[in-house]
Structures are given as C-alpha cells and as structure tokens.
C-alpha cells in the first residue's frame, strides 16, 4: 500500500477557461468548444494531436459523446468522469495518470457544467431513485452548521464570527472584481455583507458560491516533453483524492469543525510533493469556498493555520491577495462562480496564470516570484460525507 504520486512526471502545457456566468446564449457544446479551443491554442496543438480526453461533468451530459460529438473527435478515447463538485479535478487527475503511465503522450482534461438551464436557483442534483428517506436539505444548510460549531468550540463570539465570514466573502469578491472571467465583478464591503438576511442557518446568499455556467480545460504531457509545447509549463508535484466513508453523518464524535477527508488528502499531497511547511512554501492556494465557513475550516485542514486560529488569520488578512499566503486570488467559487464540473480546472487555471506571471497586475499575488508552488483544493459533498482533492503544482 502506497500513494507514491507522480511528482515531476507530468506537466500542464496549455489551458483554457471560459468566463463563468449565466451563459443564457451558450449550451454545453459551445462552452466545451470555447474552453477546448483556448487550451488547444495555448498548448499549440490540434485536437488530432491530443491522444485521449477526460471530460468532467456532474450532470450536464453523459458519456464521452458529450465531448466527442461537439468537438467532432474521431477514433479518440473520451472518458466522462463525475465526483461531485470535485469532478473537474478528477478529470485532471485521470488524464495526468494516463500520461504518467505512458499510455498516451498528450491528454486533455476538460470540465463543463451548464447549471443555469434548470430554471431554479442553486444546484439541483438529479434524483436517483431511492426509498425517500434521504435528506433533502440544501448544501448551504448542511455547511451552515459548521459556523456555530466552530464558534462554540473555539470561543468566537457570534458577531465576530459573522465578521470573519464576511471578511472571507469580501476578500473573494475583491479578487473577483479584478477578474474579467469571474461571475461577480463587484466589491462587497464587510458591513454590507454582515447586514444580509440569512437563508440557511446564519448564512446569507452572499456566503454561498456563485452558481454559473462555464468550462475549463488543460493539456497534459510528460514533463520531459513539456518544452516542445511551452517554455513555462506547470509541473504536477502531487495529486491526492480521498472519498470519505460518510461516517461523519452517523458518528456522534464528528463535531462539524473540520473536514477529515480534506486533512487526509492534504497530507497525502504534501507527502507526494515534499511540502512540509505549506503556509511558507506555497505561493497561493485555490480552495473550495462553496460557503464562507468552508473556506475558514479549510485553512486549518490544509495546514495553513493551527486549529482554532484560522479566524484570526482571516481577520489579519493573511489570505488576502497581498497577504503571506493568498487564497482564491481569482475570486474563488464565491465570486468566480461554480459550474460544478469546471471548477477544479478553473482553480488550476488561476495557478497557471499566477505562477507563470500571466495574471494581470491588479490581481497579481504578493508572493509571485518568491515562491513557485500552488495548491488547488476541490471538494464535493457535505460535512461528514465528502470527497476531497488536493493538487500541488509548480513552475520548476
């Protein structure tokens, strides 16, 4: 038993990402063509030069035909993957391992979601026939239970907790405001966020991720071949994935103040990548801020802050764009939007821009140039029963 990883064996040599927004005028086909086209151009390859494709979509299409049909791919292996909200990262992980295995020279990972055709706000999962005893609570309500649990455990006053969560949302909105591909491009002051009415537990609509349509894609090759495609590849240092056993929802010892699946996947990814001091070694992190309390707890599960202290670091601005570890410099799910299958690759897209110095000056992270590693964290599910993905990538 081992999780050996594929450190320095696979590189990303091209990426594409659509704007994440309410694309009333674009369907799955158009979104896939846009993201794939940008990635092909970015890597300087044609669709024929890509040997195999991995398509991540939670519920915007079934089978590889969802991609092969609009792209008119002929004779190519196309695999559709799904892993809750970590679907995009799963596509990347499968493509990376396929290249590392030597089975293919060039692979594409692409993620897409068309969520705004449902006619309803928020995300709505396809009902799988069942006995009718499953919870029908929204994800917002499930994650809302994290905030009071955290506040109670660590002695954070209710209004202080409200400010901490608003601080997280405000940071991500400030970053999104500087990102032309983000869904929400407006800064949100903390006072305004604190005054929003609650929709689920203590969470307001502005504690929740934006719900958007979008697609993102990456081209992967063996690291030794990367120079053929770009002078600035992004090299994969570690990829980790943990599917929890769901015991958090049935085990009374689970207290809603951490996500053990995240801590486990982070430890695995750090081991693969040889990272020992993530807070000091990482230039940035893109984390799964589906709700503001999620981002708070992730700072501890990912090892960026000691248990019970992340709220102070948030208030101190440690995770701001000019902080010592910028988190979600592209706006995160909060402001960039969350087309489920695309999100994991969107996170990688920001690492691609920032580490390679391509982020526009008004969004550039303070750590640029001085550190060369980025982390992306992508989860799916709920507190107590989730899947978690962590990647570490670097420019050298």
């Amino acid at each position: 038993m081992a999780s050996r990883g594929i450190r320095d064996r696979v590189a990303i040599v091209g990426m594409g990402c659509t704007r994440f927004t309410e694309h009333w005028d674009k369907g799955v086909d158009e979104l896939l063509l846009d993201a794939a086209g940008e990635a092909f151009t970015s890597a300087g390859v044609t669709k024929e030069q890509v040997d195999a494709y991995w398509l991540g979509t939670a519920q915007s299409g079934m089978s590889g035909l969802t991609l092969s049909r609009p792209l008119r791919l002929q004779g190519k292996p196309v695999t559709r993957v799904e892993n809750f909200c970590a679907t995009g990262s799963e596509a990347l992980r499968q493509a990376a391992y396929a290249v590392a295995s030597g089975a293919y020279d060039v692979a594409m990972a692409i993620g897409v979601e068309k969520v705004k055709d449902s006619g309803y706000q928020g995300l709505n999962a396809f009902p799988i026939p069942n006995d009718g005893t499953q919870r029908t609570l929204t994800a917002a309500a499930m994650f809302s239970m994290v905030a009071p649990a955290y506040a109670r455990r660590y002695g954070v006053a209710e209004d202080e907790m409200r400010t901490v969560l608003a601080r997280i949302a405000s940071k991500n909105h400030a970053n999104g405001a500087r990102n032309p591909r983000a869904q929400f491009r407006k800064e949100m002051p903390i006072e305004k966020l604190c005054a929003m009415p609650a929709v689920a537990g203590g969470l307001s609509m502005f504690d929740c991720a934006g719900v958007a349509d979008g697609a993102a894609a990456a081209i992967l090759v063996r690291a030794e071949d990367a120079a053929r495609y770009t002078a600035n590849p992004l090299v994969i240092k570690g990829l980790s994935f943990v599917a929890g056993d769901g015991s958090g929802v049935t085990d009374p010892s689970y207290d809603y103040t951490s996500f053990p699946e995240v801590a486990a996947s982070a430890a695995d990814a750090y081991a693969q990548a040889g990272v020992t001091e993530p807070r000091a070694e990482l230039a940035m992190a893109e984390v799964h801020d589906c709700f503001t309390p999620t981002e708070l707890v992730l700072m501890e599960d990912l090892g960026f802050a000691e248990r019970g202290t992340a709220w102070k670091h948030v208030l101190d601005g440690a995770f701001d764009r000019d902080g010592d570890l910028p988190v979600n410099p592209d706006g995160g799910l909060k402001a960039f939007g969350h087309p489920v299958g695309a999100t994991g690759l969107r996170m990688m897209f920001e690492a691609w821009l920032q580490l390679r110095g391509e982020a526009p000056p008004d969004r550039r992270i303070a750590t640029a140039g001085s550190r060369s590693l980025a982390l992306t964290h992508n989860l799916g599910g709920y507190p107590g029963e989730m899947v978690s993905f962590v990647s570490i990538v670097g420019t050298a």
Partner: protein, 476 residues
C-alpha cells in the same frame, strides 16, 4: 370477557383559534380552538402516533390491526399496512382498513371485540370544511387507538357488557370522493332520526346489560350531528353531570376518531377518580348512519393504568397555527411554492427493500458497537430506534430547500443509546429549539409526489418524560 386493554390518543400540536376565521372568511368561526394536523400529518401518521402510545402503555402484541378513517391517505392501497409497518407488528398480524364514515370506526371496534385478541383498533380523521362553514370550525384532526382483548391477552381495564347496533339508510351527511368538504341535509331531519335512534339503542343496550340509565357513570355521545348528540344526551335519563364532554371547545370533532377519543377521555377520567372504584358503567353511543351503543364496565386494573400522553395533557399543550397557515396546509389557499424542484416520488421497490428502516426506523449495530442510521448491510444486528430519544447536536434553518411548508428546521440528532442522524424537525417553531434540547421520533409524511405519500420519521421536542417502548422490542 373481551374489553379494552389500553389506549393511546394523538391530538396534533397545532390549534386554530376559531375567532381567527370570521375576519378572513366573513362567516363561521366561534369560540375556542380546534386541533389541526400539521402539513406533514395525515390520518395514517396520526394513527401511528396514537397506536404507538396504546402499545407502549400495555403489554400485548396485536394479532389484528384495524385502521378506520373517513379520510384515507390511499384508496385501493391499504393504509393499515403502513401503520402495521410503522408499529413493526408481527407479519402474521392481519392489518385491515375500515374506510368511509364515522361508522367504520365503530364497525372496526366491534370486529376487534368480537374476534380473537389482542386486536388494535386505530381510528383517525382529518375534518375539513369550506372556509366560513360550520364543519371547518366544529371539526378536528386527531386519532385514537384502542387495544382490545380478553384476560388471556392482557389486563382488561374495561369489559364490554353489551353492544347494540341499529343500521339505517338515510341522507344526513355525504361527501363524494375527493370533495374538500361534506354536505348536509336540513339539520332538523338528521336530528330527529338520530335522536330517536340513539335513545332506542341506549335502551336496548342497557336492557341487554341488565342496567338502567341511573347505573350509567358516564355517557359519551359521538357523531358528527352535534345537535342530535346533545338531544340524545338530554333525553337519555343519565344525569347531566355524567354526560361526557365532547371536547368541542378545545379539540373539536375528529369524526371517525371521536368515539375512541371520547371513550379514552372518559376512561382516563374514571381512572383519575379512582375513589369511585371498579364497576363503573361507561356507555359509548355513536350516531352515524344508524347507531352503535357499547356498554363497558371498568375493572380494578383501570386505576393503575397510565396512558403515555393523557388526553387532558394533550389538550393543554397545543401551539397556535394561524388561519392562513391552516388554509395553506389544507390546500384551501394555494401559496407560492418554494423555488426548488419538487422531490421525486420514492421508489416502490427501494421502499419495500428498506421498509424496516423507512417505516419502522430500524438502524443497525455493528460488531464495533456503533449504531448506524440507516442500517448498514455490513452490520449483523438490527437496532430499533423509534422509541429512542436524543439530543440536538447541531441545528440549522433552511429557507432554500423544498418543503410543503418552508422553512425546513433541521437538526443533527445524537441518540441516547448511540447513533446519529441528521434529520428534519417538526412540531417546532423557528427559535423554539436549541442545541442540547431533547427530541423524540415521530412518523410523518415528508411530501407527496405522483400521488405517492413519502412516509418517514422526523424528530420533535420530547413531549413527556415517560419512556416509550413502542415498536422497540418484540417484533421481527
């Protein structure tokens, strides 16, 4: 001698103040309150609640279950089997519906008392009238369950001494299937027919028992014709102070559940007035398409019987529901639905596979000692949980999720005997519950899709401190 071995009553928590009706409907209403089933209750779930209490208070496993109602959740498909599943009765216990009228409940009780015991008679009803009408204000929702049998089956608390039934076909009240409310003939016609029938049956029944009106300790007259019921009581020769309160003021008339409710209330009163000793004569007279008169004599065991949730306690512990919410719950005031997709109907085959979990709330216990909800196929031992109480470990209010009556109030519940379940709360108002509060489980209808009622369990604040063992032990 067959008789009553125990009872349970369920009065829904919600009460409609009748003075709220007239300002909105322009007519109707009156003084006092009526009970109102929550949006997640129907005659089946209320029946389960009453039956659980009946079984918890008496040590007997029914061989037969009768479920009587004038407002069945299903036709063609039995409702008694859902009650049977929720109670986790033995598979060999027959479960039958007696559906259509108040009279059905008396027929079921008679069949139970005539047949081999123990038998469980569950009567449940939802009474709806059109806004501003008499039935709306006078009606009630609720259920009552009577456990019957002989001294071989348990300890009779009241023995049946005589039963007289007169059947007559005449039109006083009627309701086509699916109609929202009943219609009635001119009141005087039914009053005269029922009054004569009631007095005749009382005389016949007392005669069969060798008793006179003066021997009657309590006379309860049930039936939807209120004037006739009063007239029968007035003409019965039983002194006015021995005429049972029909509970019109605080409860209303719960139709098919009224006979068993009034009998239970009178037996509770007799038990409390223990000084009077055994041998008290309680007569239940029910006016419905004819009349049934049942004469009971209480036994010495009655004084020691402790109902799980006494009727008087339930009458005193309701919480208000506004007239607008009542109308919305009843479908009489269509309100804007939540902007979320409506849930899909539950799968028949999945529900059947998991019926012990879905209807009986049975989890599992593994070799590691952990209790798991829902049960895990890897665990060897089934673990009944319906009677368990627990503590709220986390709490949230979901204003976004689909619910027939938003918002959803939701808790993570840790059970005293082990196990945790994130589960919806009911019979609770926002702000009326906190982390650390005590809860118990209640069988409810989560929603209806494609005409399929999705039954499952919810948690609610603990109603009393008595242990509730119903459904917990002894069944498959």
């Amino acid at each position: 001698m067959h008789g009553i071995l125990g009872w349970g009553v369920h009065l829904p928590r919600r009460r409609l103040d009748r003075t709220e009706i007239r300002p909105v409907a322009g007519a109707g209403g009156g003084r006092g309150t009526r009970t109102v089933a929550s949006y997640d209750e129907d005659t089946t779930t209320m029946g389960v609640a009453a039956a659980r209490d009946a079984l918890a208070a008496a040590d007997a496993r029914p061989r037969t279950l009768w479920f009587a109602t004038a407002e069945p959740a299903y036709l063609d498909k039995s409702n008694a089997t859902a009650v049977h599943a929720a109670l986790r009765l033995d598979r060999a216990a027959g479960a039958y519906d007696a559906v259509g009228s108040v009279r059905s409940a008396m027929g079921a009780l008679r069949a139970a008392l005539d047949g081999p015991g123990p038998a469980l008679v569950v009567a449940s009803d939802l009474r709806t009238g059109l806004p501003g009408g008499t039935d709306e204000a006078a009606g009630a929702d609720g259920a009552a369950a009577l456990l019957t049998g002989s001294d071989r089956d348990g300890t009779p608390l009241a023995e049946l001494v005589a039963w007289t039934s007169l059947s007559e076909e005449f039109l006083d009240r009627w309701r086509p299937p699916r109609a929202a409310a009943s219609r009635t003939w001119e009141e005087r016609f039914g009053e005269q027919r029922y009054t004569a029938l009631g007095l005749e049956a009382l005389k016949l029944a007392l005669g069969e028992a060798g008793l006179a009106a003066a021997d009657v300790s309590a006379l309860a007259v049930a039936g939807l014709h209120a004037r006739a019921a009063r007239a029968v009581a007035a003409g019965s020769g039983v002194p006015a102070e021995r005429i049972a309160d029909r509970l019109d003021g605080a409860v209303g008339n719960p139709g098919a559940a009224q006979p068993a409710l009034l009998l239970a209330a009178e037996l509770e009163r007799a038990a409390e007035e223990g000084a009077a000793g055994p041998g008290r004569i309680v007569v239940l007279l029910t006016l419905s398409d004819g009349v049934d008169a049942a004469v009971f004599r209480t036994t010495g065991a009655l004084a020691g019987y402790r109902p799980v949730r006494p009727v008087a306690e339930q009458i005193g512990s309701g919480a208000p529901v506004s007239y607008g919410t009542y109308l919305a719950w009843r479908g009489l005031l269509p309100v804007e639905p939540p902007r979320r997709p409506e849930p899909a109907r539950p799968s028949a085959s999945a529900a059947a596979r998991n019926s012990d979990w879905k209807f009986g709330f049975v989890g599992s216990r593994g070799e590691d000692g952990a209790v798991r909800l829902p049960p895990s196929p890897l665990d060897g031992e089934r673990h009944p949980m319906a009677g368990e109480t627990g503590t709220v470990a986390a709490l949230t209010v979901d204003r976004l999720a689909y619910s027939p009556s938003p918002p959803v109030i939701f808790a993570v519940v840790d059970f005293d005997g082990g196990g945790r379940l994130p589960v919806e709360l009911t019979d609770v108002d926002e702000g009326g519950i906190a982390v650390g509060d005590r809860v118990e489980m209640t069988f409810r209808r989560l929603f209806t899709a494609d005409g399929v009622h999705n039954y499952f369990w919810k948690a609610r604040p603990v109603q009393n401190s008595k242990p509730d063992a119903s459904g917990a032990e002894g069944a498959g």
